[in-house]
């Protein structure tokens, strides 16, 4: 049994309209014989059969539009028994499946998304990203006032960011020494509880979520401030104004020298993992020059630490208009007396500088020991 199908009618022909049969069911047909007529836009075309045999059943009806390959009749080959033959439901166009697999469509290059706001040349946009320059602040000298890479280079160089920063720090420190009567206190703290807790805590965490002891120090200071509000606020126009929020300024040393102290907002209310994330974000952005000016202006107290290299203890200068600054020295192995026996412990020296116009040594000492106590129960931080 063979299907007689609509033949491919030429390079530009997808379908043909069936016109008429020249044979009726039961007639003999021989190879090359014309047995039907199909209409194409070029005109009527006689369709020949390639299979000799007997015309079994007619499927195509006059006026029917049939795609190339659609079955039009069933032909029983010579010598085949007549058999009930249900015409197949959908036109199986197997023969046409010999085309090669289509080549992958080429991926359209991703179009750069136009940025709103000022015109910036692509070169300027790339250079600004590299140098961490904020494009908003630049005046363009290119066509239609566009910002060019030369504008970015000029902004980065003039005068060198580090020199500008040096001047700013210098001015603040000089004012602080002039106006703020500093008093200083220092206290050694056993850090083993924190370090042990951290070791077990970090084993459960993936690398990216590990917590540094620095975060514990910050949280301890932030929580302790609840009971010692006189160290958290601003001294402005001759009076101290305590701050309801606790924005811890974290002093960050910069690769090419210089220091910035961006704030971690509401440090007392941040759970430890989020505090760590905030800390890491601030430090990384500070070191890449990516800080926003707003983050540098609203600390209510500052904490500074010398990390692993540096000195045993330090006596920092308060950032006006703040009224206190907390400092942490290096972590060192020190003999420590516990129940009368001497044991080795990791010890850190914590120091506080206070503004004597606002607070005094006694409260300072209590504040310092409160922080030390908190650091003995790190799980509560």
């Amino acid at each position: 049994m063979v299907e007689f199908r609509m033949p491919s009618l030429g390079a530009d022909m997808e379908a043909g309209t069936f016109v008429e049969w020249l044979k009726k069911p039961g007639d003999r047909v021989s190879r090359g014989e014309i047995i039907a007529v199909v209409e194409t836009q070029k005109g009527a075309i006689e369709i020949e059969v390639f299979q000799s045999g007997t015309l079994e059943t007619l499927i195509a009806k006059p006026g029917q539009k049939l795609p190339v390959g659609a079955p039009m009749a069933i032909i029983r080959g010579d010598g085949e028994a007549a058999a009930a033959f249900a015409p197949p439901p959908a036109p199986a166009v197997k023969a046409l499946e010999t085309r090669p697999p289509p080549a992958k469509a080429p991926v359209a290059p991703a179009l750069a998304t136009p940025s709103a706001g000022i015109h910036t040349s692509p070169a300027a946009r790339r250079r600004a990203a590299e140098l961490g320059i904020d494009l908003q602040k630049l005046v363009g000298t290119g066509p239609d006032g566009a910002v060019t890479s030369a504008d970015v280079e000029r902004a980065a160089a003039a005068p060198s960011a580090a020199a500008a920063m040096r001047q700013a720090i210098g001015a603040a420190m000089a004012r602080s020494k002039r106006e703020i009567p500093h008093y200083y206190l220092a206290h050694s703290i056993d850090l083993d509880p924190c370090l042990r807790w951290l070791a077990s805590e970090n084993e459960k965490r993936s690398v990216a979520e590990r917590i540094l002891y620095g975060a514990l120090l910050l949280k301890a200071v932030a929580l302790a401030l609840h009971d010692y509000p006189e160290f958290n606020g601003y001294y402005v126009d001759g009076a101290f104004r305590p701050s309801a929020q606790i924005h811890l300024g974290v002093a960050v040393a910069l690769p090419k020298g210089g220091l910035v102290a961006p704030a971690i907002h509401d440090a007392d209310r941040l759970p430890l993992p989020q505090l760590m994330v905030a800390l890491r974000d601030l430090v990384n952005r500070a070191r890449r020059g990516g800080l926003r000016s707003s983050e540098l202006a609203d600390s209510t107290i500052t904490v500074t630490s010398l990390g692993e290299q540096g000195a045993e203890s330090l006596f920092p200068v308060i950032y006006p208009p703040q009224v206190a600054i907390f400092g942490f020295g290096m972590v060192l192995d020190r003999p420590w007396v516990v129940d009368g026996t001497v044991v080795p412990r990791h010890v850190i020296s914590a120091s506080l500088a206070g503004d004597h116009r606002v607070s005094d040594g006694h409260r300072g000492g209590r504040f310092l020991t409160a922080v030390a106590q908190m650091l003995q129960k790190p799980e509560a931080l």
């Binding site: 690398v207 590990r210 890491r280």
Partner: protein
């Protein structure tokens, strides 16, 4: 990864923390935390970069072993053999 690739990975991780890293003046066998004035935050970023590149989780206890370039390479190579062997 072979040893040359491991060393390149280590230096790349280090460079991500110290942008203007000058490999010529870095003694690979010596502790780089002092040589490059790297604090705990930088070191954490360095470890994170290493783990991302080598897919090897480095516990805190092993931080001592990866404080120098050569130390890190040896640690990673030895660790790589163990994980592929299991």
């Amino acid at each position: 990864m072979n040893e040359k690739e491991l060393k390149a990975t280590v230096l790349k991780a280090l460079a991500s923390v110290v942008p203007e890293l000058d490999e010529a003046h870095l003694a690979p066998e010596k502790n780089f935390r002092e040589q490059l004035d790297i604090d705990s935050m930088d070191f954490l970023n360095y470890v994170i970069a290493l783990c991302a590149a080598t897919k090897i989780e480095i516990p805190e206890a092993d931080y001592r072993k990866i404080a120098s370039v050569d130390g890190t390479v040896a640690y990673l190579a030895q660790h790589q053999k163990r994980s592929s062997a299991t």
